[in-house]
Symmetry: C2
Subunit: 596 residues, 2 copies
């Protein structure tokens, strides 16, 4: 069975040293957190995920979910584990205290999520979806709706789902057909079929709150005619007790490549009664306000699964003996050297490690921006943080899951043939994480969001805000000789990004289809540059700690060595990505359909 070591020291480093979250006095509620509290919470989650969730990961994959007599049964052990999860209060971390939450910042919740997805992605999706439903109702629901649902969703006693996709309508929700017809008491009867509904039905909780996109009879055409409804599995009486079953069911389980432990359902709503969340026809807006958070959650899956895959590949590389180093025997006491002596195994591991640690820092930064957007006392700064979080959302979702998937494939590769069989768990990581590149908006949609919506819609204002931060950082450290290699790598990446951005801005006027054609290499270029920024900051923080005479010099020196590798290995890719943007976009946009 795969092992897992929660990266607690890395969390401390990021929270305390890199992001200085204990000094964020202008953020409401941050005065209530301190290192002891954070450590205790993260240690608690580390224990729960390692002891309870991890042992159910392989068995959940093997057993999968079953649909019996209209009810979904989750794999053995999931029910008990979920009960303990809510009993321990882990569901409540970042929720509103008014409804029983602990009000902790996103920057802590994000790392809790990383450990959950690393150890059992399929299981983690049940509370993950619940949190999404909680957020939608919390931000957009009426007071009555909040009173009805929030406390139960916060505690985890009830779970939630998102019902968006229909078989013919995925990316393009304007096409959806599910109907909402007004009935008595201001309620609506929902009818239609939804597919790919994660956690759609299960036996973990006594009720499920389905958030469903549907069209009202007077709906305008297109995406401006979609409304959001809260539709419970069981009706809720006025006293909060459960009433009769609603007119909905899971008609089938999807047969998937991975995440078998999560019940991905086809949901049929047959006049199921629900209530409007937010304004009529504003359903997509309601969904989109949660998007930055939800997409961060998917990105975290990319990181979490990539990290556990790395941890296991490293253990295997140290233990597996096979062949000898090219430079001569390294472990003469053994019949062969460990495969960690082989350059290509080292290359794969270093690529994964530098990606994971850089990404973890970026995830922390992104979560902190979300916290600042919500909690900063200065509305200008809150707005800037919201804009930065929006700009980086496609990066933390699209770039991170693309590269996280590749990292898992590399980790599997280190196991050779053993990586291809179920027994070692590596092939499950690859199958599970593959979905993260697809759901919550495919990565192609993320790339288009980055280029079409985030870059061009504000004429690059937010990008400039960020690149000024990068330039400011470079200026601040330019007199420090120790920082030179890291600053050089960061500058190279930033230059390529700037040029590619300029090209795209010009292309937009010439032929808008070029934007789509350029979007994916551009997103990868942006992502590599973003991690270069994080690694340069990690280097600066580590140099400062070493200069101050830390007694953990090994930790900081390893960070510096990894930062150097990142700049040398990942940094080399920005030039080609920029060239792809510049060289191929026009031809891609205009390639004759008959020639495919």
């Amino acid at each position: 069975m795969p092992i897992y070591q929660a990266p607690l020291r890395d969390y401390q480093f990021i929270l305390s040293e890199l992001l200085s979250i204990y000094d964020q006095t202008e953020l409401a509620g941050f005065d209530e957190i301190d290192p002891e509290l954070t450590d205790a919470i993260l240690q608690g989650i580390a224990d729960f995920t390692t002891d309870i969730m991890l042992p159910l990961n392989a068995s959940g994959d093997l057993e999968g979910c079953q649909l019996k007599d209209g009810n979904v049964i989750t794999p053995k052990g999931f029910k008990e584990a979920y009960q303990q999860y809510i009993d321990d209060g882990w569901a409540t971390l970042t929720c509103d205290p008014e409804y029983g939450g602990q009000g902790l910042p996103e920057v802590i919740g994000t790392f809790a999520t990383e450990m959950k997805t690393a150890t059992n992605m399929a299981f983690a999706m049940y509370p993950g979806l619940t949190h999404g439903a909680y957020s939608a109702i919390h931000v957009h629901g009426s007071d009555a709706l909040k009173q009805k649902y929030l406390a139960k969703l916060v505690s985890g006693e009830w779970t939630g789902t998102m019902n968006l996709t229909e078989s013919h309508a995925g990316t393009d929700l304007a096409l959806l057909r599910t109907k909402a017809t007004p009935v008595a008491d201001g309620k609506f009867a929902i009818s239609g079929e939804k597919i790919f509904i994660s956690s759609g039905d299960h036996d973990l909780a006594e009720n499920i709150v389905h958030l469903v996109l549907a069209k009202l009879p007077d709906a305008p055409e297109g995406v401006k005619g979609i409304s959001l409804f809260a539709v419970p599995k069981f009706h809720v009486n006025n006293d909060g007790s459960l009433g009769e079953a609603n007119q909905l069911c899971a008609s089938a389980l999807e047969h998937k490549m991975g995440i078998h432990g999560n019940s991905t359902c086809v949901m049929v709503f047959d006049g199921a009664v629900g209530e409007l969340v937010g304004e009529p026809h504003q359903g997509l807006k309601a969904m989109f306000t949660m998007m930055n958070q939800a997409r961060l959650g998917v990105g975290i899956q990319g990181l979490g699964v990539s990290d556990i895959a790395y941890q296991n590949a490293l253990v295997y590389a140290k233990e597996r003996i096979q062949g000898r180093a090219l430079s001569g025997v390294k472990q003469p006491q053994q019949a062969a050297d460990s495969i960690l002596v082989h350059g290509d195994v080292r290359r794969m591991l270093l690529s994964q490690k530098s990606f994971n640690e850089g990404t973890r820092a970026l995830m922390g930064q992104q979560a902190l921006w979300l916290d600042q957007a919500e909690r900063h006392s200065d509305p200008v700064k809150a707005k800037q943080a919201a804009a930065l979080a929006a700009l980086f959302t496609p990066i933390v979702k699209g770039f991170v899951t693309d590269q996280g998937f590749k990292a898992c494939v590399d980790a599997q590769q280190i196991y050779g043939g053993h990586g291809y069989i179920n027994e070692w768990g590596m092939e499950q990581f690859v199958r599970d994480i593959r979905i993260a590149m697809i759901y919550e908006g495919t990565n192609g949609v993320q790339a288009l969001d980055l280029v079409g919506r985030k870059l061009l819609s504000d004429k690059g204002a937010t990008l400039t805000l960020w690149s000024d931060m990068v330039k400011g950082f470079i200026g601040e450290h330019s007199n420090n000789d120790a920082m030179k290699p890291y600053l050089a790598g960061l500058m190279d990446a930033a230059t390529d990004l700037e040029k590619a951005t300029g090209f795209i801005a010009q292309s937009a006027a010439k032929n808008p289809d070029m934007i789509g054609a350029a979007s994916m290499p551009y997103m990868q270029l942006f992502g590599i540059s973003a991690l270069a920024w994080m690694w340069a900051r990690i280097a600066a923080t580590s140099i400062a700690a070493l200069d101050a005479g830390t007694d953990e010099s090994d930790f900081y020196q390893a960070k510096l060595n990894t930062a150097e590798f990142y700049m040398r290995y990942w940094g080399c890719q920005t030039r080609s990505l920029r060239k792809q943007v510049e060289m191929s976009s026009a031809q891609i946009a205009t390639f004759d359909e008959a020639d495919f």
Copy 2:
């Protein structure tokens, strides 16, 4: 169910126009082939694979193999399909006429293999392994062994396997423990356990010839102490009839990520009686003489599965409607445009298409080199062709399966959520083809073989042979203005390859571990350059056809457009790969183990 259109026109183009196989009068037996014969054979295989093999691909994956009472049962329909396969004579194509084969060249057999692996990779592995066993005995077996086994292996009445791996010994076969003890009649009793044995047991044929690596009692240490044995499932009487069962069995089926239709077994040999193939202690040499052919076969899997994935993704992209083109509505009669209007979908498809078609041409070239090595009347040219085939073997195996896997992941991505569920077949392609990066030597081993064995062992002589061919081609076409963009792309790639090669040659002296660290980006750089060479040749051939006033100008113009895309999109990557080689190899080689 996925569709498949055998790329017959492309085969004609490659065989007749690009490689001019009908003019290879110096190759023994090539005078017997003509376009009519080739077309008939390839059409026959196209029909068989599309009508018989393809319909069993998804069901074979779903059902898998079962081990019952010590015997493996293949999925429903496999037995009948296999019987038809041998009845139709498809097993015999490239085999020696002395044993009932048709003696056709590898360059035709290779494309037959492509269609088989495209439509049903798991099924195709049964005859694939058989062909490997045939080759080993054909090249290294005694006359008695040939008489005993070859005719049955050629006809496909009996099948074959390769038993190399043990649980602790994969890449490093020197570690293997299976023992061979002399018994009566010059035979040997084989004892040991082998894992990951493709087609290890099944119900398709009445006998199975296991080729098993084992150590004789007097074996020297290491890889020079390994012998190869032919060990039949059922003993063969002197009259050719089958005798008693041998002391061996499939003790378990491996639980794998994919290729479920192939019976991958744990094989236990418990004093099973077998005969030596070749000389004692020369077993690895015997295996390695087949390696160029076997690795080409695995590379063909990368191409075949990538191509069927592309074909289906293209159909889906044309039929699936979702959203509108950024440049405005393209299909106003529909509620949305087909997703082929979206730049990133086009980018993925063009990346796959240009990879597939370029790779198909390269596979043809590689197979022709193998034919030349075996059949050329001029021994110098035969030797050169053998050296070139050896140099390119890691490319056609390692580079092609790495990129073929990525192409399948992209094809799956085009389906969005539908790509993640079993129903559409795309996720199976990804799971199936993943093994090709691992077996027959992991791709890391391929990269090391390229850099350590192929490049450095002859001090670059074979590489120079090839780069002189490239330079000769460039010189030959440098006065043709129409060829300019293609020659420029080829020259850029060749320059990066030359510089990276120089760097590696210098590194080898400084620190041999740098070779391993540099090997993977170097192999990718080499592969992209090799395809640039093929695309430049395809462009030259297409320009000539257009200049000659072909009545298929659409076909040739599409080739030119795809060649242009290849140079623009893939060509951009060589610079970064060279930089990775130069910038990161030293650090990877020396990175402190404690810092991982």
